[in-house]
Subunit: 136 residues, 6 copies
């Protein structure tokens, strides 16, 4: 039987700065350019969570997107919305908050909240023109 | 040789109600919440049809999207647009019209209208924030 | 001093049918076409509320959009979301739910909840391609 | 003769915090909620500049949008993009960076760069759902 | 009584070249840059037609947007879609096809097709970032 | 270890005409309809480049999207923007510029500019409703 995927899109607004503490200030400035601004800049992030599995014959759902939205809220947007991704999220303190690394963090935060029989994938939009997919 | 996919997006506006007749009224109300409203609610659906195959050297097309658009019109949007998905479509009378189930219906309706040498996939958007993919 | 306008966008999903009970069935069918379907169809409505006034020097706001969002929720989206606009909203029972008439209803529902020193305007999108503005 | 308006849309990404230094920390927290986070949050801002005047018979333009885009770049986006609106922009140091106040700043920064025979209006989108217009 | 406006959005794809035949080739090249390419370039144009008037108590419409869509089709999109705006449209042969001039052409083409008791306004999008309004 | 994909979206505006010189004028007219207009028509193309690989622990990037954007600019948008795809691009002179064929051209133009350890995929939007993916 074919699998079906459901997608749920949520958003959060956050500040961040790209900086690798193992590099010098000059190396970071060269590597990240204006994204290295020590005073931070920010984005309206859009996160799309894809859950793939079989359609449940009782509900007609792969998974209830209202419940999925609540899981994303509790585990992701309540923790990241209106936050500084370098300073305010304990689990991200040692993470350089590139879009790639934030997407991996979101995947890891959600993986054990989602039924393990379902495949999980994250799309994270930093802007309309820059976005990532994990796992690809 | 690499395959190429073409996508064609169409839309339809419809009313629906989520309800499993094998469950009690209370079970349906708990399961579907406001989506179980007996008087129906509705959506602007967007359907994206993906057809994957080889580029035809004569036409430069995988398949003519004008012809594909006409196939979608005759088989999907003429049947679903400005309709009640619970009441007005004979083939859906016994289907609980979740986005998942409507996507499977669209796939099954189009599969034998599309050259079998092409892979077919459906993306169905119930809202900008809730959408499905079949087969995934 | 120049005025400033703030806009807040919200959404609701609803079913409706266009029908004027003072006309015959044939007249309604001719006038409204497929929008007259007796079993209803539906839309993802987007409502944009525009409030125009002076910037408050204490807050830097014309009006707090979080509070405005809550006013729209209590007075509009909680009443219209996942509803049948012909059957489920007591104040609309005698209203033919064209986009124009729903926009006027939204304006009238919000006018006395918004500071009278502010101008109020409603934009209502039935689809991406059909929308109205009241008052224009 | 009727006037014509041209619009040009640009974007910038910035961090900010809403805070009125004349209020106590508790008053700011109550007034601005999570927008008062001392570590900042951020947005993908979209700015739309509207210039209204007569069509120049020689060029067929009200004003050249490539030149307008360059004026916006030099005066707005080069100063605000990837910046902290509370810390990095000398002219905004004493401004509480609400969307309203940033729109007024943009208007005032552009007004004397645009031919005075043209009307000027700014639309500033903090998110897709919150935006302002100045002058309204 | 307050007026209400209805908007209808349509699209067409066309090629064009900006060139003023009363100027020299060098002047045109300097004025229009890459938009002066003698081999043409092109756009997906979006046209939004705004009609403002009173709501008709019988229909609940200012004007029927299905009929409005048909008027736009016959008078605008059938004439401009998949055309070269410099060569293929007899009424535009002597017009330099800037967005401003095309918007005026659309307004003039529609004005006597729309009830004179209604106000008419045209928004024309050449790209998402460049658009015009006539009359402003 | 899971792979991660980064996407970068760019745009260009171009004219084109669909025509297979090995077919007769009548055959081309029947096959391509209004897309065969000898005077050309045009589009606002959006190209999305997907690069899939491992996250570099030093940078937190799969690949720097600023550098990727520059590669796309030099190899694609500088060559295609405000051009006639049938006449102005030497490498496309013998190519019938369908969306499929342009996507293959973009892929082939970028493949040797991108680290061979990365997978590469192109999405090309001719309009919001017609787009292709290569390789699929």
């Amino acid at each position: 039987m074919n699998k079906t995927a459901v997608y749920r899109k949520e958003h959060f607004n956050a500040a961040h700065r790209l900086n690798n503490p193992q590099l010098s200030a000059d190396e970071n400035a060269e590597l990240y350019g204006k994204c290295n601004n020590p005073n931070y800049h920010g984005h309206n992030y859009e996160v799309v969570v894809k859950v793939t599995g079989d359609i449940d014959l009782r509900t007609g759902y792969v998974t209830d997107t209202k419940a999925l939205s609540q899981i994303i809220k509790e585990n992701i947007t309540d923790r990241l919305d209106h936050k500084n991704l370098n300073l305010d999220v304990p689990e991200l303190i040692d993470t350089n908050p590139t879009t790639e690394n934030i997407a991996v963090f979101i995947y890891n935060s959600l993986r054990n909240k989602i039924n393990p029989q379902f495949d999980l994938k994250i799309f994270l939009y930093e802007t309309e023109r820059n976005f990532v997919e994990y796992p690809a």
